[in-house]
């Protein structure tokens, strides 16, 4: 059967052709393709790994960010609280100072008023004495001979009456 008998010429050419094809493709064909495909596969793997790492880093950064924001908020709260305290302190101090000042001024005013009152009283007293003397003088000029004795007497009497007066005023 000729179909099952390999022809030597065809065998020869097939061997030559296949080996040439194999040599050409093994040199310039398949190694290039497979190495490039491997290279790309490696690159894709690396890229995926990098992406995963970036994702992880991103998640870390988000956490860090949240932490920083939280800290900033706390800081803000703290500062606000401090500021409020400081304000309150200042206000309180100012109030205290004002109160002190006011009481000091009041005290001074009171002493002054006291002094004024004293001097006014003594003036009034002398005026009254003078007036009384004058009045008495005018009343009793004619009757009294001795001025000095009279004046002493009148003064004594005025004093007594004044003492009664001031005690009543005080009371």
């Amino acid at each position: 059967m000729s179909l099952l008998m390999p022809d030597s010429g065809l065998l020869f050419w097939m061997l030559v052709i296949f080996i040439v094809v194999l040599a050409v493709l093994a040199k310039w064909g398949f190694p290039v393709i497979t190495s490039m495909v491997d290279k790309r596969r490696k690159y894709i793997d690396e890229s995926l790994q990098l992406a995963r790492k970036a994702d992880e880093k991103m998640a870390g950064m988000m956490k860090e960010q949240a932490r920083i924001i939280g800290e900033a908020r706390e800081e803000q709260n703290r500062i606000l609280k401090e500021a409020a305290e400081a304000r309150n302190n200042i206000i309180r101090q100012a109030q205290e100072q004002a109160r002190d000042e006011a009481s000091k001024i009041l005290a001074e005013a009171r002493t002054q008023i006291e002094a004024e009152k004293e001097s006014a009283l003594s003036q009034i007293r002398s005026q009254v004495a003078l007036l009384s003397v004058n009045v008495a003088e005018k009343v009793i000029r004619k009757t009294l001979s001795e001025d000095k004795e009279q004046k002493e007497l009148i003064e004594k009497m005025v004093d007594e009456s004044l003492k009664i007066d001031t005690s009543t005023v005080k009371n």
Binding site: P6, V24, L25, F30, M36, V37, K39
Partner: protein, 372 residues
């Protein structure tokens, strides 16, 4: 797509009805068709490449005949053989060397000279090899010219690369241990693409295709022989040990080496099966398609009605067979590559850890542990 499909059947029917009328009009009726010689002519080899017949004129592409006869080397175009013997060389008709170039020796017997003519199959192999080389080099050229990390493959690279990746990753790396696979990948990939392109070109019925290359036993013999050589030359010790002293009860190998003999036979049956499988599948596919086409011509004498229906059926089956052959073309290339890879992989199997081997390893570990 749907519209195209809708038109296929009416067009085919019209063709079927027209074909017998045409055959009836032009044929001379009385001529018997020699189906067997037609079939063998198509699936066999020839010195010229017969393309078609227009009227009475045969269109044949002449191919070079290269013969070393008793009178030395002869080289001429095959068309000269049709005019008569060239330097005592002629194509035998019938007999032992039917269809081959022969010469007469001194005793008058037909003898076969050394014949390395570029026959139809050799020319087909050359054309198909050029196609394979262009495809693969076109692909590798793309990789040389482009940055593989920045661009996706386009053009021929986009077609070839997935197939290369598929064969390389699934078949080659799946069958051969990792450290050896790169060494054998070029051979297996070349074999795959060589067989695939030859199978596909064999289905194409007109000139650049149509040569029944992978359906020729010389071609498959060469491929199987290469696999055989690669498997047995690069096989490791374990492979040979498994053949001559396999792990079976001693009485199967001691007085009568029953299993070793079977294993030894297996060395040859494996590539033999590779050779026959590819050859028979492709040859049978061609024979079936040709037979369906022959039905059209065989039934001409039975009248237009029978011929018409039979032609319709034959063409339908022919189309079906062509689709099947497309599938077979791929499957056979795949199977040849896969089995070759498996055989190569079997020749590189590492020694499996056995009971005694395990103990040795444990002892070694303990020793190294003590030393450490």
């Amino acid at each position: 797509m749907k519209r195209t499909v809708r038109y296929i059947i009416p067009v085919l029917t019209l063709l079927m009805l027209w074909a017998p009328a045409f055959a009836d009009g032009s044929g001379d009726g009385g001529k018997d068709i020699d189906i067997k010689s037609m079939l063998f002519g198509h699936i066999g080899d020839s010195y010229g490449w017969h393309v078609t017949k227009i009227g009475d004129k045969e269109i044949t592409i002449p191919l070079p005949v290269i013969v070393k006869s008793s009178t030395g080397w002869h080289c001429f175009l095959s068309s000269r053989l049709e005019e008569g013997p060239v330097d005592g060389l002629y194509v035998a008709e019938g007999g032992k060397y039917d269809g081959k170039i022969v010469e007469k020796d001194a005793a008058g017997n037909e003898v076969r000279p050394l014949d390395i003519s570029i026959t139809k199959n050799v020319a087909g192999l050359m054309i198909n090899s050029i196609i394979v080389v262009l495809l693969i080099l076109g692909c590798s050229r793309w990789y040389r010219k482009h940055d593989v990390l920045k661009e996706a493959p386009t053009g021929v690279a986009a077609v070839i690369e997935p197939v290369v990746t598929f064969i390389n990753d699934d078949v080659i790396k799946g069958s051969i241990p990792e450290e050896h696979s790169a060494k054998y990948a070029p051979y297996l990939l070349t074999a795959f693409f060589f067989i695939l392109v030859n199978n596909l070109m064999g289905i194409v019925p007109v000139f650049p295709g149509g040569a029944n290359t992978t359906g020729n036993i010389a071609v498959t013999l060469t491929l199987a022989l290469l696999t055989f050589l690669i498997v047995n030359i690069f096989a490791n010790r374990h492979y040979w040990k498994d053949i001559f002293w396999p792990d079976v009860p001693w009485w199967l190998k001691a007085p009568v080496p029953l299993i070793p003999l079977t294993e030894l036979l297996g060395i040859f049956t494996k590539p033999f099966a590779l050779m026959i499988r590819l050859f028979a599948n492709i040859m049978a596919g061609h024979a079936v398609i040709l037979s369906f086409v022959s039905i059209i011509f065989l039934t001409v004498k039975m009248g237009p009605a029978v011929n018409g229906t039979m032609s319709f059926v034959a063409v339908l089956f022919g189309i079906f067979m062509d689709f099947l052959e497309l599938l077979v073309a791929f499957i056979q290339a795949y199977v040849f590559t896969m089995l070759s890879a498996v055989f190569i992989g079997l020749a590189h199997v590492k020694t499996e850890p056995k009971d005694t081997g395990q103990h040795d390893a444990d002892d070694e570990n303990r020793e190294t542990g003590i030393i450490l």
